[in-house]
Amino acid sequence: MVSSPNLSVEIGGLKLKNPVITASGTFGYGNELIPFYDPSLLGAIIVKGLSLRPMPGNPPPRIVETPCGLLNAIGLANIGIETFIEEKLPFLSKINTPIITNIYGHTIKDYAKMAKRIESVDRIAAIEINISCPNVEEGGMAFGTDPDIAAMVTDQVVKNTTKPVIVKLTPNVTDITIIAKAVESAGAKAISVTNTFLGMAVDVATRRPKLANITGGLSGPAIKPMALYLVHKVVANVKIPVIGLGGIMDYRDALEFLLVGARAIQVGTANLINPKTAMEIVNSLTDFCVREKISNINQIIGGLKVNGENHEKGGDKKNK
């Protein structure tokens, strides 16, 4: 009898039926989810970044394609946490998978307030803190490049909620492990690596930046090697689980992140191109496990072989 492989993973007490999560800002709020498949099939859904009050976002142009990459400066356009809870959550609640809110604050207090508000909402399973958005003037990435501030934000959120707190890091730092350790010490239950890389593009004909915001955040396949490296590095330096993302387009990309030790992965830009990507990755991971006779996906996580040795598993070891 061939039993189907067990794809479930655990992130900070949260049990996911599989390690495939949709990344913030690339899967909508809820009713905008395109009904190309049943989102209950996913490991979890992270909704568009929310702030305390609605934000209009940046003026257009907000996006530009670069070689194998997408440069965006959406500027965290969002309807605000209250409207989200009132108008969008009811729809999301029907989906049989954990809903994770991604939150962004202009100040540390904002983060604390949002955490408190979310604490009262049963249907939200966890909080991902965005201290890494490059497209907003205040807060955002500035919080994510300083280990002390990153820890303070984390601490304030953790103090105001019993839900698992995931901190999403920026790659735009000299040593990401310092930030990772800081937020781990401050009580983060998991770390998402990585948000977008700072970039820009110029229209040679008009001699103007292609983005109204001048600079933006780079995502997509172009960043995959860098994101993978960062995940590899963070996994080796923290005990809490790491969620890997950056340029994942298919199940092979997902496997690369799992092999270097990511406990779960997020699909971002790929959703915008092929809205079925996340579901297809779930299916292909299942097929892969069957083909390779892997009964439990955890056997793959951290399974990178380096000089004949297995890579240490994320979450199962000491700092070093």
Binding site: G25, N31, E32, C68
Partner: protein, 269 residues
């Protein structure tokens, strides 16, 4: 949201019909049954490669035999160059139909179509559809930079269109811009106030929108915008709303691409 499909279709034809302008057709009964004039498709051009990365938006240019869809496109960059190399039988992934189409004019309403360049793509479909229900001629102003880029003249005549053609260099039709024709036309005493349907480059649409305000005419514009998803997800395709208190930005893919001109803040366009 409207019903949206993702389908891998097989190209039936893909041929050049003018300098850098191509017509591509494929078969899809389901898409054909859903598509309305003004809606668009997101077409994946990468196939084996990840560059170009994003799908490209193209207006639905027409439907034939209830099962064939066409797009009309100009080769301007990487994606459209690649598309032009695709041959009969090649598979492509298409998402659509997307966005809100044109509000059809009421039977007794006079219409005026203004198209610049590839702006003809969705307006052609609109006249095609209207032609089936209405008997009178449609007035259309159509502009291109130069005679070599002019396409579809014969087909438009078959569609009962009363066409005035402009080229910027005067190499065919009237020398000038379509908006010059509009100025002239609106300068006359109009017995019946037309509803304008316009599609083309943003500066053209801006002029037309402003004219429509001056003359207090109903005006629909089909806008373009940098799109990543076409699905209302990425919030990339923002355009500033005229009354930005309720909603600071509209999203071209979801709230448009066709907008009543007065919804848009033309100052910043």
């Amino acid at each position: 949201m409207n019903k949206t499909l993702e389908e891998v279709v097989s190209i039936e034809f893909n041929r050049q019909i003018g300098i850098d302008t191509c017509l591509m057709g494929f078969r899809s009964t389901s898409l054909a049954s859903l598509a309305k004039p003004g809606q668009f498709l997101m077409i994946h051009l990468g196939r084996e490669t990840k560059d170009p990365l994003l799908r490209r938006p193209f207006s639905i240019h027409g439907i034939k035999d209830k099962n064939k869809l066409m797009i009309l496109y100009r080769i301007i960059g990487k994606g459209t160059s690649l598309l032009s190399t695709f041959k009969e039988g090649d598979p492509i992934s298409v998402i659509g139909p997307l966005g809100n189409g044109f509000n059809l004019p009421r039977p007794n309403e006079r219409t005026l179509f203004v198209a610049g360049g590839m702006g003809i793509a969705p307006l052609f479909f609109l006249t095609q559809v209207l032609n089936e229900v209405q008997k009178h001629k449609f007035k259309m102003f159509l502009g291109f930079p130069t005679s070599q880029e002019v396409v579809l003249l014969d087909q438009l005549k078959d569609l009962n269109v009363d066409l005035s053609l402009t080229t910027e260099d005067g190499s065919l039709g009237i020398k000038g811009l379509v908006t010059d024709l509009l100025d002239q036309y609106l300068g006359q005493r109009l017995t019946k106030r037309p509803v304008i349907y316009a599609c083309g480059p943003t500066p053209m649409l801006k002029k037309i929108a402003q004219k429509s305000f001056t003359f207090n005419l109903k005006c629909y514009v089909s806008l373009e915008g940098s799109m990543a998803c076409g699905l209302g997800i990425c919030q990339g395709c923002a355009v500033k709303a005229a009354n930005s208190k309720d909603k600071p930005y509209y999203y071209v893919c979801q709230d448009g691409p066709v907008f009543p001109a007065e919804m848009i803040d033309w100052e910043v366009m």
